[in-house]
């Protein structure tokens, strides 16, 4: 049985590399014993509770190469340890990729956005309270899910894609990156690889202990936003209980090319309904070439929630998700 709150961190070593090579070497050497520390806003609670016990932290925020917002030949590259506040306020992001600026601007609270980074927001761990409390659930290496049980408290949990674990993707920015078809830049001592945002987030069926495709020794260093979706028609909405600090009950990010009211192309993703941002390809296909209207929105909403499997306390997410998708589509 877990004890209640500790609120005192044990001894943990800290490394503060100032260049990429050093950071990657540390990540490689320390492996799973090295906790990648960006803004730390999702770190210290784990450590104070002593529910995660890494031997060392590798701070990534002193590496200038991984900070800032740069224009590239094919769009914009955002360093992974750029703060959410900087992203929310950056003129380029606001002008061309407003959907991300909007999402970054509603993460948690101002102070958390001031320190919290894009990479941290994307890599944050599941918010399922059973898991956070240090219970021996699947995600923590055990063989039970407390949330997906006859009595489990699962109002905030998944309505899609459950596989032993029913925690949802908690990130506000992740659905926008999936919608924007962003590319994730991942570095390790073996070099750099890239993958789509959609592939970056992984469900419990692939790895129940991790919410991203990062391997030990790998670091997310940047996110690239393609020029193809710059200045598109955007819609972002996050519905949460409270308007500060809360994680989404459901969110929607839509990126559309609209001409004369006709949707020429679209990418839509929802947050907090699945362990990964849920890309709505069926909806995208259904609305492509269609005129935006209330009817189209309603149809898109219905299509979006097809196959949803709500739990005891999250039936509401089905109409909520349908409504949000409808709002995004109808214009």
């Amino acid at each position: 049985m877990v004890a209640t709150s500790h609120d005192v961190m044990p001894d943990i070593e800290l490394y503060q590399p100032t260049d990429e090579a050093n950071a990657l070497a540390l990540a490689n050497t320390l492996g799973s014993d090295g906790w990648l520390l960006a803004g730390g806003q999702d770190t210290f609670g784990w450590l104070k509770d002593r529910n995660k016990a890494p031997g060392a932290m590798i701070e990534l925020t002193q590496i200038d190469a991984w900070k800032g917002i740069r224009e590239t030949a094919d769009g914009v590259e955002i360093g992974a340890v750029t703060t959410l506040t900087e992203i929310a306020n950056n003129p380029i992001i606001r002008e061309r990729y407003g959907v991300l600026a909007q999402a970054a601007g509603v993460v948690a609270s101002p102070q958390i956005r001031n320190v919290g980074t894009l990479g941290g927001n994307l890599n944050q761990d599941a918010r399922c309270w059973y898991y956070r409390r240090g219970l021996d659930c699947y995600r923590a290496g055990g063989n039970i899910c407390y949330a997906d049980s006859p009595e489990g408290l699962n109002r905030e949990h998944a309505i899609f894609g459950a596989s032993r674990c029913v925690a949802v993707s908690p990130s506000d920015t992740a659905p926008t990156l999936v919608a924007l078809d962003a590319t994730m830049v991942i570095a390790s001592q073996n070099g750099t690889r890239t993958m789509s945002a959609q592939d970056f987030f992984i469900g419990p069926d692939r790895d129940i202990r991790s919410m991203t495709a990062l391997d030990d020794g790998e670091i997310l260093t940047a996110v690239r936003l393609p020029a193809a979706w710059a200045n598109a028609e955007f819609y972002f909405e996050k519905v949460a209980d409270r308007n500060v600090w809360d994680f989404a009950l459901t969110s929607v990010a839509a990126v559309m090319k609209v001409s004369g009211g006709t949707i020429e192309d679209a990418r839509i993703a929802c947050g907090a309904v699945e362990c990964v941002p849920r890309r709505l390809e069926a909806v995208e296909n259904a609305i492509r070439g269609q005129q935006r209207s209330d009817e189209l929105g309603a149809r898109a909403g219905e299509l979006a929630v097809e196959g949803a499997r709500p739990l005891n306390y999250n039936n509401f997410k089905v109409p909520l998700m349908a409504n949000l998708v409808a709002r995004a589509v109808r214009g």
């Binding site: 001894d11 100032t18 050093n22 210290f44 104070k48 506040t85 958390i112 308007n243 500060v244």
Partner: protein, 194 residues
Amino acid sequence: MNPKVTRRRFIKGVVASGAAATTTGMWYAANGQDRPGGAVERLIRINVNGQMRSVDVAPQETLASTLRYKLGLTGTKLGCNRGECGACTVVVDDVATYACSVLTHSMKNARIETVEGLESPNGDLHPVQQAFVEELSPQCGYCTPGQVMAAVALLRENPNPTREEARHAMSGNICRCGSYDSYLDGVMRAVQLG
């Protein structure tokens, strides 16, 4: 790998220079001996309220702990120690920051301002403090230092906010007494006191 900083000896003893230095410094167990070199040293200097302070800081120590327990700056409050309340808000390089949720070691090159550092040398209150007094913004007062610091950071970035802008900028600070209205009255008055 060529660490820029070499690990020196394990620093023992109390090197805190604050009035509230405690005996805790002696009780850290050495650890991480089998890990790579380059880990942080314990003795660091940080800039707090315009003064360079030498402090013995554990690697995992939060800024709030250092301020409160090493430097005696107890104006910074711990309401939740989780980044969920804002009572520990300080200003780091002009940016409102939860002191409970950053490491002191991350602050080595930063300018840290706490509520204790706002008054002018002649003892005059900062306009935000003065305005909060005049509007009776605080109730129980426990969140007040955090509210003050959030307002100070806001007015540096935006000296003339609307009430709506102020409300958003202050929104990372819980007031359980529910004095939000009075704090916003205070922020708007501080704009006038400038």
